[in-house]
């Protein structure tokens, strides 16, 4: 088991390293130097030279990459060239907003999806089961920003049930929660059906197993059998899916943050892209990719703990 974790962890590190280096290299493959792009057409050659020197852009690519990783090892991602603030500080300020959004979205989706999947499994082919089956396919497909726009249009602008923009007054929890509702629905809606589908499938599998039959034979109430015996086991595969979901949602959060003008990593990245603020782009891509790789790694490890057969297969790259 330890060997698997080490091997899988090293592979994740390698992938992260490749991804970041690729990203770094691409900045330098673009025609025209970044200084010109960032300072705009009116910059004088002296300004560009000074700017390049300050960002270390005048050094060879290998040196820059080395410096970047040396900085990374110290937890230093460089400075925002426009405000002279540290990139790590800026990213850390925005990260909590995105994390809260993602956690609330995935928590809400599980609160709805798990009972729905459980019920579908117990009452197979009932109307609710069929509705869940259709919904689970339908909601995943619809782009989340379209959901966000429709929610904004109806629930915030037309009916004014929820605020249309921002993250709420700081310190005022009720206000912040109120601001969180619509973005969280937009982000989590697609997952409700997906989670329901996963829970339903594993519930059906578990319900056939011997220990459930034994529990029933002992005359335990059906409710106890389902909640305490079946669902507990059936939840496990879903937990791993949720782990991966957090990574995927980090990027989905971008649209929710933009549509509802919420602060967060997605909005930070988007604005950095528009102003060609490369250090911020690198910083926010690194953080989200890191989270993505980490959550995949975590769910792989949990999976392997649950199912020893996977260890061999995943270790050999299948």
């Amino acid at each position: 088991m330890l060997r698997f974790i080490v091997r899988r962890g090293l592979l994740s590190l390698l992938i992260l390293f490749l991804a970041v280096s690729l990203m770094f290299g691409m900045i330098h493959m673009v025609p025209g130097d970044p200084a010109t792009v960032m300072l705009g057409p009116k910059a004088t050659p002296e300004m560009k030279a000074e700017f390049s020197r300050r960002l270390g852009l005048d050094q060879p690519l290998a040196v820059q990459l080395g410096r970047f990783y040396a900085g990374l090892a110290r937890g230093d991602l460089g400075e925002d060239p426009f405000t002279n603030r540290e990139v790590t500080v800026i990213v850390w300020e925005q990260l909590p907003y995105t994390l809260v959004l993602v956690l609330v979205a995935i928590g809400g989706a599980s609160l709805l999806g798990i009972p729905l999947g459980c019920f579908s499994a117990i009452r197979r082919n009932s109307l609710l089961d069929r509705l869940t089956a259709v919904m689970s396919v339908a909601f995943i497909a619809i782009p989340s920003f379209v959901v966000a726009l429709y929610l904004l249009l109806w629930l915030a602008v037309k009916w004014r049930w929820f605020p249309a923009m921002g993250a709420g007054e700081s310190g005022n929890l009720a206000d912040q929660a109120h601001h969180l509702v619509l973005p969280a629905i937009a982000l989590g809606l697609g997952w409700v059906g997906y989670i329901a589908r996963m829970v339903r499938a594993s519930m059906l599998e578990v319900m056939e197993e011997n220990h459930i039959r034994t529990a029933r034979a002992f005359g335990l109430p059906e409710r106890t059998v389902i909640v305490h015996y079946a669902l507990r086991i059936a939840m496990l595969p879903t937990v791993t899916i949720l782990g991966m979901g957090i990574g995927t949602m980090l990027s989905g959060a971008l649209f929710a943050e933009i549509v509802f003008s919420r602060p967060g990593i997605g909005k930070l990245l988007y604005e950095a892209v528009l102003t060609r603020n490369y250090p911020i782009v690198m910083g926010s891509v690194l953080v989200t990719t890191g989270f993505f790789v980490l959550s995949t790694l975590a769910s792989d490890i949990i999976n392997a703990m649950l199912d020893p057969r996977l260890r061999e297969r995943q270790g050999s790259g299948e």
């Binding site: 990203m23 673009v30 497909a141 619809i142 920003f145 602008v157 589908r197 990027s251 892209v273």
Partner: protein, 286 residues
């Protein structure tokens, strides 16, 4: 693999038994038809500006109203479909071709090559797609070709992984070993046996990939990073609508509906195709 005629008959009879798949098929054909016939169906030039009639609601003259420049939204939605169609056709076919090549290479090639390619696929997949797209656009500037390029790069691993797995599974099968023993070349085995066996899963994958690709194009155009104005795309219609949300809801309503229809249509159709051709692909999630 059966003959083309038998294939169509098989698909049709399968679809007839699956109302949701049939609905998807009808929806997809309807939208395709509207998109292809856009130049004949659109009541106005989608780029025609009429500042005297800005942000109006639906009327006999403009069924879906007009946008902030007085352009007819219905015409823009119809033409917007052409952007989505072009992007999905080009991006998916190129990604599929490259994925096919790399996947077979990984599946049949030496072990080290397989390892390198798989790590490469994983690296590309480790970027959250939209972040990757944004980063690329930051570097190259917004354009439709950039969008297509990003979608191709991020989709290649999806196809390559399926092809690799199928190729590896086939490689061990008796009939392939027998062919090899009889002296068949690798090229011949690929063409005559591997390709026909992975064609069906690939096309099913492609039809299920359409919603993601269309959503990606619309998403990037919504962020102002895809098509350049005044070209209509469903995403750019939504972007215009977002800016004038408090003046008129119609651009958002009109821009969102085709996106929902296309994603639902292709998903239901793709799921149905998968069930008809390859029940094994279903996995245990259903």
């Amino acid at each position: 693999m059966s003959k083309p005629r038998g294939l169509i008959a098989h698909t049709w009879s399968g679809l007839k038994k699956d109302p949701l798949g049939m609905a998807g098929f009808v929806l997809v054909s309807f939208i395709l038809l509207l998109t292809i016939l856009a130049p004949w169906l659109a009541p106005y030039d989608p780029l025609d500006v009429n500042v005297h009639n800005r942000l109006s609601g639906p009327s006999a003259a403009h069924w879906l109203g007009t946008d902030q420049l007085g352009r007819d939204i219905l015409s823009r939605v119809l033409y917007g479909g052409q952007v989505a169609l072009k992007v999905s056709l080009v991006a998916i076919s190129v990604a599929m071709a490259i994925g096919l090549l790399l996947g077979m290479l990984a599946g049949l090639g030496p072990r080290w090559l397989d390892r390198v390619l798989v790590i490469g696929f994983d690296t590309v997949r480790s970027f959250p797609t939209i972040m990757f797209a944004l980063a690329i656009v930051a570097l190259t500037g917004p354009s439709l070709n950039t969008v297509i390029g990003v979608i191709i790069i991020t989709s290649i691993p999806v196809y390559a992984r399926v092809v690799r797995t199928q190729t590896r599974a086939l490689r061990q099968r008796d009939f392939i070993l027998a062919e090899r023993a009889m002296g068949a070349s690798t090229g011949r085995i690929l063409r005559d046996h591997v390709l026909p066996n992975i064609a069906a899963p690939l096309f099913i994958l492609a039809s299920m990939d359409v919603p993601a690709v269309v959503g990606m194009e619309a998403g990037l155009s919504f962020l102002g990073l895809g098509v350049s104005p005044p070209t209509p795309s469903w995403g750019s219609i939504l972007n215009d609508g977002y800016s004038y949300l408090r003046n008129s809801p119609w651009p958002i309503i009109a821009g969102g509906i085709p996106l929902i229809a296309v994603t639902l249509g292709f998903t239901f159709f793709g799921e149905s195709l998968r069930d008809i051709f390859d029940p094994k692909l279903r996995g245990k999630d259903r």
